[in-house]
């Protein structure tokens, strides 16, 4: 039987076109491998650089927080928030007694002063009744408006507002321009669980 063996130690004896092509292919493939390897190495290096930057960022933040804590911050001011219920209730009362919302929401431009005057009576009469029934009002200052009054040191600036030529130190003397109003009594109706505050006037349907 004829065996066919490959002897790898054999050296080519001839150098023809086939061999040239073979050598060119080998050179081309090795070039490609080198290029691939190079790009891989470069991209690796780039990635490393990025992650290094990401690790650095939190450090900067911590420093910032430390800065905030160290700064002498002012006390946070919590403003009182008025509950809408009482305001809605008052609107309801004014509408019920004085048709207040009807009046305010109406376009008065088209009407004569006489017509508006008649309606104003309804509103004035009703508001007067509603306010007197649910609030006790008193003047802040009992003196006559236009008279000279003296304000001692430590007067309540919430009760009396200074205007005009405010210079010097207390006691101040000035003219009482407006006597002021203060509520000394509130008698608002209590509300049941079924009360809908937002309905300040229910729609009315006559059967």
């Amino acid at each position: 039987m004829n065996t066919y063996a490959i002897d790898l130690s054999l050296k080519p004896t001839t150098f023809d076109l086939w061999h040239v092509c073979l050598a060119g292919t080998v050179a081309l493939l090795s070039l490609i491998i080198i290029v691939l390897l190079l790009t891989m190495v470069i991209s690796r290096i780039r990635c490393k650089k990025k992650s290094a930057m990401q690790q650095a960022e939190p450090i900067v933040k911590i420093i910032e927080v430390e800065k905030l804590v160290q700064a002498p911050a002012p006390e946070p001011v919590v403003l009182k928030e008025a509950t809408p219920d009482a305001a809605l209730q008052l609107l309801g009362l004014l509408q019920k007694e004085a048709r207040f919302i009807d009046f305010i929401k109406e376009d008065i431009a088209a009407f004569s002063d006489a017509d508006i005057g008649i309606a104003a009576r309804v509103v004035h009469e009703g508001c007067n009744k509603a306010i007197n029934e649910h609030f006790t009002l008193a003047a802040v200052r009992s003196e006559q408006e236009g008279s000279k009054i003296a304000l001692p040191e430590g007067f309540d600036a919430a009760e009396v507002r200074l205007t005009g030529n405010i210079v010097g130190i207390a006691p101040f003397t000035g003219t009482l321009v407006h006597k002021g109003w203060q509520v000394t009594g509130v008698r608002l109706p209590k509300l049941t669980s079924g009360h809908k505050a937002a309905i300040v006037a229910p729609a009315e349907v006559e059967l």
């Binding site: 019920k96 009046f103 017509d115 309606a119 000394t184 509130v186 109706p189 049941t192 079924g194 009360h195």
Partner: protein, 640 residues
């Protein structure tokens, strides 16, 4: 909600605080009475007044007025001194759930108070008003569901009795929520009734109180309560203002009724004594009539200008007339008050009706219309009611209050004959009052009060009698409740007590033993069973007059009252009387139960009349054989 309540209602606030402290600090006996409570169960308003008995010494009786929590509109509860006596029967779809809660209940049986009046002003077919006037309306069964009279069949009606019970229940619950440690059924409770209430109406009021657990409540006549309040307010000074021989005329003009009483001041062992000598008829005439009269006047004026008014506009007009009237009476410098009736839609300008009410109109309609200058010989006109009347209240036909007053004083001319301290001149044609006490919101108007005094004094002047003086210092709106609370205190033996007893004598009608005449009704005699002025806690029997009662069958008697026949004793038989003398009340009824007897058996009985401590008349039939007693019922109404 209310940071300022201390400023607005100092009395109530301190009182509450004091109470709270006491209940914590002092261990009180659980059932010890601590308060005397006066309830003014008015035709248009109820008021509750109370005083702490532990904090009273002789000179210092200061009753408080309870602020009554009540619904004012769906969803809102307010405290007001007066509870309007109105009841509203709401449709089930009308009110949102949870919008009718009260501090003591999530679901009240009836809507009463301000909310009832407000809702009812727009839906009158569901509004019950003036239930009290129905209680003494002869010819109506007060326990039958008849109100509102104009309601369509679909509306479930209530009886006048139920409505009265509902007002009392509201007051009781309000008290309980404000004084949880002092249940109202353990306090001294006094309920006021008009002096002109008949025995049946008084009985119904007591029964209503019993129905809400106030079995201990006693009755007091309103004009007496007003006088008690005046005495209490004078802090012992009243003795300087009242003299022996005085006859005090109490004029009480409320929202719906006018009530007149006479109280004599006499002397007993050196002490001043007060005796209520006469009461007037129940006159359905008051402030509401006045407001309506003004509204109709203004309506006529508008219609002359070609403006038609709808029903709701007239209603609104009545309201604004009431306010305008008060302004005109209180501010003498004003001559006209503009009246406005706003449109119902949301557009206010343009749709609003404007007119005016002038002083001249108020004077003409109210002063001249209701308090005309008349002679003392004038009498109220009453024309026979024509045709079939729909079921309604018997409103006074003559609006002239002065004419009713003249009739009353002339009718009661002999009221003081038995009192030796009081001497009427020979020529007197009417009883001469020497002092006048006013009560009721209407008389707050100076012009009306002055006119009333002017007319009365003109009558007195015509008979050379001295002018009557006005007893000042009365609180016209709240006096009755305050006086009722004071009466609770007086009953403990403190202060002066007004004597009086029954304000009428009572009779039953019996057929006289005469041969029957064809075509003629059998003659009827009036047999006196209770004399005038019977004191509380006393009783009188008439053993000589026997009746045969059939077991198991109701027997009815005609029943009469007289507020002028003072001399009749028990057993007196009247063959003849004038229409003036005796008023026929509703029939009374006795039913003998069958227990232990044969049906159809005839039992001889005699009648016994007693005035209970509560202040009601009680009639009993007593068997001769075994002394067993049966109650005679008042509240059977004719035509039942």
């Amino acid at each position: 909600m209310n940071d300022f309540s201390d400023h607005t209602q100092p009395e109530t606030a301190t009182e509450e605080v004091a109470l709270a402290n006491e209940s914590v600090a002092v261990e009180r006996p659980q059932n010890g009475t601590r308060f005397c409570v006066g309830i003014d169960l008015g035709t248009t308003h109820c008021v509750l007044s109370y005083a702490d008995l532990d904090c009273i010494d002789d000179e210092q009786f200061s009753p408080q007025i309870m602020a009554i929590p009540q619904l004012t509109s769906p969803g809102s509860v307010e405290e007001k001194q007066q509870l309007p006596s109105f009841l509203y029967l709401a449709h089930e779809a009308e009110l949102a759930t949870g919008s009718t809660e009260l501090p003591w209940t999530a679901n009240p049986d009836f809507l009463v108070g301000e909310i009832a009046r407000n809702l009812g002003s727009k839906t009158p077919i569901r509004l019950v008003s003036s239930a009290k006037s129905w209680l003494c309306h002869t010819g109506v069964d007060c326990k039958a569901a008849v109100l509102p009279a104009e309601a369509p069949d679909e509306v479930e009606r209530v009886s006048p009795f139920q409505a009265t019970t509902a007002y009392l229940q509201h007051l009781r619950d309000a008290w309980q929520s404000l004084h949880p440690n002092a249940p109202l059924d353990q306090q001294d409770v006094v309920i006021t009734v008009p002096a002109s209430f008949d025995p049946a109406a008084r009985e119904l009021t007591v029964e209503a109180a019993r129905a809400v657990g106030l079995a201990q409540a006693i009755l007091l006549e309103e004009p007496q309560a007003a006088l008690y309040s005046w005495i209490e307010k004078s802090h012992g000074d009243w003795r300087k203002h009242a003299e022996i021989g005085d006859i005090i005329l109490v004029v009480d003009i409320g929202g719906g009724t006018t009530d007149l009483s006479l109280i004599a001041v006499t002397q007993q062992e050196g002490n001043l004594e007060l005796t209520r000598v006469a009461v007037g008829d129940h006159i359905l005439l008051g402030g509401d009539n006045m407001d309506l009269a003004l509204a109709y006047t203004v309506k006529a004026k508008l219609e002359k200008d070609g403006k038609r008014l709808e029903a709701w506009q007239l209603q609104a007009l009545t309201h604004s007339c009431r306010d305008a009237k008060e302004k005109l009476f209180n501010h003498s410098e004003l001559d006209t008050i503009p009246l406005v009736v706003a449109s119902r839609g949301s557009s206010l300008i343009g749709g609003t009706l404007r007119t005016e009410l002038t002083r001249e109109e108020v004077n003409r309609v109210l002063v001249e219309g209701f308090l005309p200058k008349v002679a003392v010989s004038d009498r109220p006109t009453s024309r026979p009611r024509t045709g079939l009347r729909t079921a309604g209240l018997p409103y006074a036909q003559d609006a002239g209050i002065t004419r009713h007053l003249a009739a009353f004083l002339a009718k009661q001319q002999g009221a003081t004959d038995e009192l030796k301290d009081i001497n009427l001149p020979e020529n007197a044609s009417f009883l001469h009052p020497t002092a006048v006490l006013f009560n009721g919101g209407v008389l707050k108007a100076g012009a009306l009060a002055e006119r009333l005094m002017e007319v009365l004094n003109s009558w007195l002047g015509a008979e050379q009698a001295p002018e009557a003086r006005l007893l000042a210092g009365a609180d016209l709106d709240l006096a009755v409740a305050r006086g009722a609370a004071y009466y609770g205190y007086v009953r403990k033996g403190k202060g002066v007590r007004i004597k009086g007893g029954t304000a009428a004598s009572y009779y039953v009608g019996i057929e006289s033993a005469m041969p029957a005449v064809p075509g003629m009704m059998a003659e009827i005699q009036a047999l006196c069973i209770a004399p005038f002025g019977m004191e509380e806690g006393t009783q009188q029997e008439l053993p000589d007059d026997e009746f045969g009662l059939v077991i198991g069958e109701p027997v009815r008697f005609r029943f009469f009252a007289s507020n002028i026949r003072r001399e009749d004793k028990v057993g007196t038989r009247l063959d003849y009387w004038t229409k003036e003398e005796l008023d026929e009340l509703d029939e009374i009824e006795i039913t003998l139960p069958e227990e232990g007897r044969r049906p159809g058996e005839i039992v001889p009985v005699h009648l016994c009349a007693a005035i209970t401590e509560v202040g009601t008349l009680e009639l009993q039939a007593i068997s001769h054989k075994d002394q067993s007693r049966w109650k005679v019922e008042f509240d059977v109404r004719a035509g039942e």
